[in-house]
Point group: C2
Chain length 453, copies 2
């Protein structure tokens, strides 16, 4: 047995093949008939030629789309044709016949329809490309960190911290009466919105750590960029400041893109042709140029000037303190800089309590990475290392410091510069595949009022 | 700046060093004083020698355990001494002083006490060893599958499938009145107990896939092997039968152990000395010998004989149909075979509905891998490929087939032999580190009535 990926690597050197694959198409002619097969190991299909005297012909002509067949045959090189080779069948066995009502017959389907059959859509070329790139990107991220001696930490999914302020969270319970004291954990439990706080504790132990796991938001927002369940990568580095943090973010994004070019070029080409024109060119630019850096204050000035010069935003009231919207983020990286852009030193009021206050007393050592087409891809910061200051920021932002005792107290046990970031994995996959909806880069998407499978 | 791991690789070739690290111990003498430092990048500490004329001496003598210091100094080779080199300090800066009440002073702590400070315990050598091995094992598993073109699939954590029968599940909600129709997903939602069903759908698309993510059980069992939240690896291979499945399990376990030997030998040695005597020997046996295979029926005969010969089990009523307990599992692999053992072809009544029925009509094509000290490490099976039979098994086992329509119907769309398994990641880490409690191999363990941090 050979799989089709291997066959494409070796077809020049072998003559006889035996393989099992799924029927994509079965076309009968009077003299010769054709099976188009795929086994999921590569985007490429294989064409099998069979005739009335092929053993198993009567079974073969019955084989419907999505059936599984076993082929024994010979490789015929076909230089100049669309495919470099085909298989002349000697024997065909119909291993399992698909029913006629298979929903993915050969025609175009809308993304909306395909989301309703998430258990089948990965069989289409578009989703084959997207999900193989997703898999390869995940491995690239692990490889990047492991090569640099980072420790992968599985921070908890169920958490008792209800206080991080990163967004609405789901309750986890075994009861239907909200009596949490009698519940499984004897207290209220939630699904994590971030592994960062736990990650920080581990960075104090291992210097450099990263998480890569699912996170959750119970936010009722039906946009193309939000899902209730998504995966995040959250590295944390002790003895590291904001500038070093930016360098690590840039290295990680570039390393991942390079790895995808090296290991999923066919899939990228497919995305370039079918999902985003110019995708490869866009990614090549990222591979070959430094990211731009603007302070938040510079961004505000740029946006003010743009409004003055007639550019209209939905939110045109641009003042220091504004929480940048996607329209502003995209304007900065798409129109002004035309490349991924770090925005640094945001007003402390619009950022989280744990970010290090700058000496100006109004901004924090935060940085978001904005990328064309997406907006925010990464959010990071250096963390507040002063115990008194972080307690004060908790109070100012309405968080009970007691709820995060263990976290804040890390500052009392020897704590010198810690920085880290959160990279939204689905947004990265949207960026590198050109997929325009987060529902199309996660296997079984979870969004408001939508929980099938 | 150099980190201590790098320093241990290069100390013979460099003279001057500058590093930042945490104080493990600070011992003042009349003439010379000693700082023992660690930065988390390696198990190894570094000894720094300083004197009254060292710049920063007054700060240095104040530095408490867990404080952060910066050292500038020279490498002095000390062949024959306990460590191969030490640093003669030229300058010491106390970057951040720890408070006196730091809970991890230099003395032995019980595992129970350390679990109460899960945010700090990773700073001890035991947990440094365990969690670095965990990280490296996770990467080995990804590497094993990626090298063989498997696609990593993030199956959903929140699921609407309430019917898999793999154990009690947690409810996920945004409400406290159990009105699930008005809830976030407009239906009842749970935390996944397994990614297998979704993984099977993806194996039909990509041939070979694997998951690696958190799974959950709301089971009120307080044992050393059960946690409410744990990570699983669930590969699924289309066109694969039970025998090939066993080979993949064995290859994966052996590959992971080999990778740990190559990349975390110091940590293994530490575990061998401190957690399980004979650990290295045990793992070497696994690396160098084939796993045993017994059918369930053989196991029943072996256990019956053992009882007859005077061995006593808590459950001594050994008959075909018995759901093997940990005592039986451990007896088979520890006493009888003295090596990891596959038990195959279990009675269908004690296994899941989706397992392929054997032609004897009483067993299924299942296999568990039992390992010494742990019991069940892996559970796997070939899946039922016949639509009618799987529907019938659902009904026999009290599962509404309609609740799993999408899953069962995969059998109608071309489905030929699919097999896979679930590997409990924490149990693997217990096995390879010698840790005896699952709470000590997961960063922030979640167990009944226990949700701190």
């Amino acid at each position: 047995m050979i799989d089709i990926r291997e066959l494409y690597l070796k077809y020049k050197d072998i003559k006889e093949v035996k393989l099992i694959a799924r029927v994509r198409n079965n076309r009968q002619g009077k003299v010769v008939s054709f099976l188009i097969l795929n086994d999921g190991t590569t985007l490429n299909d294989v064409q099998v030629v069979y005739k009335t005297d092929t053993k198993g012909y009567q079974e073969a002509i019955q084989a419907r789309v999505s059936s599984i067949v076993e082929i024994k045959g010979n490789i015929i090189l076909t230089p100049g044709k669309q495919q470099e080779f085909e298989i002349q069948a000697e024997e065909i066995v119909l291993l399992d016949q698909a029913i006629e009502e298979y929903p993915l017959q050969k025609k175009e389907h809308s993304p909306e329809f395909l989301r309703e059959i998430s258990h089948l859509r990965a069989r289409t070329k578009t989703f084959q490309a997207i999900f193989r790139i997703r898999s390869i990107a995940a491995f690239a991220i692990h490889k990047f960190f492991q090569e640099q001696n980072y420790v992968y930490v599985n921070t908890p999914i169920i958490t008792g911290n209800d206080a991080e302020g990163a967004g609405e969270s789901f309750i986890v319970s075994t009861r239907d009466d909200a009596n949490y004291e009698e519940d499984f954990f004897a207290k209220k439990a939630s699904l994590t919105v971030s592994g960062q706080l736990h990650g920080e504790a581990y960075a104090q132990a291992f210097k450099n750590i990263y998480t890569f796991g699912p996170t959750f938001r119970a936010e009722n927002s039906n946009t193309s960029k939000h899902a209730a369940e998504f995966w995040m990568i959250e590295p944390e580095m002790a003895f590291c400041d904001l500038n070093e943090n930016l360098k690590i973010i840039e290295d990680l994004v570039r390393y991942t893109i390079n790895y995808i070019f090296e290991n999923a070029k066919e899939e990228l080409d497919f995305c370039n042709s079918n999902l985003e024109e110019g995708l490869i060119e866009k990614l090549n630019t990222v591979r070959n140029s430094k990211f731009a850096i603007n302070t938040y204050e510079e961004v505000i000035e740029i946006l003010k000037d743009a409004v003055k010069n007639g550019h209209s935003f939905e939110e045109s009231n641009i003042e220091f303190g504004l929480d940048l919207g996607t329209e502003h983020e995209r304007f900065i990286c798409e129109v002004v800089n035309k490349c991924p852009t770090f925005v640094t030193n945001y007003p402390k009021e619009i950022k989280a309590f744990y970010m290090k206050q700058n000496s100006d007393n109004k901004t924090v050592a935060a940085a978001d990475l904005l990328v064309p087409g997406i907006g925010e891809l990464v959010g990071g910061s250096q963390r507040e290392d002063d115990f008194e200051k972080i307690i004060q920021r908790c109070k100012e932002m309405g968080i009970e410091p007691e709820d995060l005792d263990w976290y804040n107290e890390l500052r009392n046990y020897g704590y010198y510069k810690s920085a880290g970031f959160g990279l939204g994995f689905e947004r990265l996959i949207m960026y590198v595949t050109g997929a325009s909806n987060i529902r199309d880069v996660i296997s079984f998407p979870r969004t408001p009022r939508n929980l099938i499978f």
